[in-house]
Symmetry: C2
Subunit: 419 residues, 2 copies
């Protein structure tokens, strides 16, 4: 008797390379002789409503697979849905496992971050209680790079490359205007509690760019008065000051800077506050205190969606780690997450491994204090040595009519006879 | 006796390809046997303070020239400086022409938009009054595409390509999250009075993307209540609504939407209000009126600085039109601007020409009403047929350590022995 089926889902905030992991899962599953590869629509939330597809209906050949690797956002759709604790509500679990049996699922892969690994942990624990046959494996994903154990997460490298490139371009733009005019740029970067992405803006520093003047990570408390003083001090010496701040910077009392301004505040299903407006608030403070030209630049969702500037290392690692999840399950592992292990820094080399998901779930990896300078306003060379290999190389988009082509479920065929 | 020197400057807001025009000026001037090519630092403003460089000190070989074509923002630095009318203050003109004679300038090239063409016009008029020997030629530049006569302006195509690509990525990102959750995205695009760039977001519409739901240009009055109704109407049928708005949309009474919110307002030297916050304001209105998740995305200065995604057509045309300015002066023209003439739409072909700068200066070219739909919330196929050729092709950045390399004046040499 042949192998059964694989079910794969995507969860949480998407990245530029989350579909490269999906492509890796699909290809490895096919090569290992699994029958069908089903995709959950909108993660576990959609799956419970019996929303799923057969990936072969959309990935029909190797060109489609390559397109999928270059398509940003979650091809299958994503969700932010938190499973209840098993002791709170077993009905949900019964429902899910009934569906798994109905679809003859042998392997359940969930591509996501901390919250998604929590889902894998719970499903695996429930399978132990009931003796269910399915294997549950997590595939790491998040631009924030805040997952424990894995050296880094797929998605981080491409976001870092986009941020470093954009920061370089924003700085160059600002310098062009600097004659007899003071100008303060404040750039806001994603990453609630972990400053990996914010720190990556420092990669813009090099032979042809001096990089940002200050970088503020959420790992150290932020002092608005000290910030204003620092800007004043720099403006006495130079015309353009560029500060990069995390959306999640807080005062020493733990209050988000973006909460200091009047604005709407919404929370997602996990109780996370939606953060925005940190740079806009600080730009306003600088304008009021100093009176010079200020500009707030928020890189917004482009940080996680800019597949047109994906890092080759990142796309390839995302693909490999996707394949590694199927391999792990096929070799008998369950309740694990595939991880990336760095073998060497220089030259950079990595491989994949697996790790007990109980050790990973809900543990947030932040930037170590020793990788932030003493003043708390820049990252160190060690930080940059860690990040730099992850932004190397370029995956050329497949351009159609001047724009990157994406693989989508409702692709239309061109009407050659239009007009 | 050989030829004298060329002086070139850059003015106004930079673009991704303004340095490609500079490269075209430099190369053509050298090939036509001019002696030195001087660059004004920070436009006419810096030049009056005797700030200039010899471009040969920085563009030393053909690789440098290629790098210059790929470097965003004004390599020479730019300014927003308005020359007085000749009858108001002749001292300024005496000063400039003294400097021109001192440097043995024969050709004066100014790369810029409407305000810069105004500078060319005044200097040319003064040269007629005094019989000065210099030729004055303007080179068109602006992401806004609001210059008259020229079919389009260099810089517009690359900004349009960046906006279309980013819009496509933002839409894909939003769609991934659409399960049982309403989501409204409002994207804000540059262009004070002309909606060319805002309309270019519609290029994202294609076989693999449905494009934005609404596009609001500054050419038609904006009605906040109608906008809210339209969003409500769409949300009844679909989960994700994407609206693209110009930073310059106004109510029928002429009030900027971004002025409806409390915020600081600053003006530049030309009396232009610095516009920002339109999307943020509308997102807040939608959140208050409808209560669903909203997100404001401002593409900010990246629209004019994202050389990493420059259009090949645009880079090449910018280079050619730069060369055409020197050619025009060398052949005896003065008081003219080089223009791009479209020879054919399909296949797209263009050439350069010259045109009397008096016909161009201060005349703003906006999107014709018939290229906007009746409801005033989208552009027509004619609009797209006009723009699409301008975003074609890609200029591969020269990547160093994973990031695009730029040519700068204070390039440092790598310290191979560091550590």
């Amino acid at each position: 008797m042949g192998k059964g089926n694989v079910l794969v889902g995507q969860s949480g905030g998407p990245t530029a390379v989350i579909n490269s992991s999906l492509a890796g899962v699909f290809k490895n599953a096919k090569e290992r002789g699994y029958n069908k590869v089903y995709g959950m629509r909108y993660g576990i939330q959609g799956f419970m409503d019996e929303q799923y597809i057969d990936l072969s209906d959309y990935v029909k050949n190797e060109l489609d697979l390559e397109l999928l690797k270059r398509t940003p956002s979650a091809f299958l759709g994503t969700c932010r849905y938190k499973l209840p604790e098993i002791h709170e509500n077993q009905e949900v679990y019964k429902r899910i496992f009934e569906l798994l049996d109905k679809l003859d699922i042998e392997v359940f892969i969930y591509i996501g971050g901390n919250d998604s690994m929590d889902t894998i942990r719970k499903l695996y624990d429930y399978s132990l209680l009931t003796g269910a046959r399915q294997k549950f494996v997590g595939c790491p994903k998040t631009i924030d790079n805040d997952l424990a154990i894995t050296d880094h997460t797929p998605g981080f490298g491409s976001a870092a490359k986009y941020i470093a490139t954009s920061t370089k371009e924003v700085i160059r733009d600002a310098l062009g205007f600097s004659y007899q005019k003071k100008n303060v740029i404040i750039e806001e970067i994603m990453g609630r509690n972990a400053g990996w992405l914010t720190g990556a803006a420092a990669l813009s520093k090099g032979e042809d760019c001096e990089g940002p003047d200050m970088i503020y990570l959420p790992e150290t408390p932020f002092d608005v008065d000290k910030f204003v003083s620092k800007v004043k001090e720099l403006l006495a010496k130079k015309d353009v000051v560029v500060a990069v701040v995390s959306e999640g910077i807080r005062t020493k009392d733990g209050k988000y800077i973006c909460e200091l301004t009047a604005g709407s505040e919404t929370k997602d299903a996990f109780g996370h506050i939606q953060l925005t407006g940190t740079a806009a608030y600080l730009a306003q403070v600088i304008y009021q205190e100093i009176g010079c030209k200020t500009r707030a630049v928020e890189l917004s969702t482009l940080q996680r969606a800019a597949a047109h500037l994906a890092s080759k290392i990142d796309v390839d690692e995302a693909f490999n780690v996707g394949g590694a999840t199927v391999k792990a399950a096929d070799e008998g592992s369950s309740g694990v997450m595939a991880v990336i292990e760095r073998i060497s820094d220089d030259p950079y080399m990595s491989t994949t491994g697996v790790y007990d998901v109980h050790r990973i779930a809900n543990g947030e990896k932040v930037v170590p204090r020793e990788w932030i300078n003493k003043e708390g306003n820049y990252v160190t060379e060690e930080f940059l040595d860690y990040v730099r290999p992850l932004i190397q190389g370029h995956y050329e988009p497949m351009m159609v009519e001047g724009l990157p082509r994406h693989l989508t479920m409702n692709l239309k065929n061109y009407d050659w006879d239009k007009k």
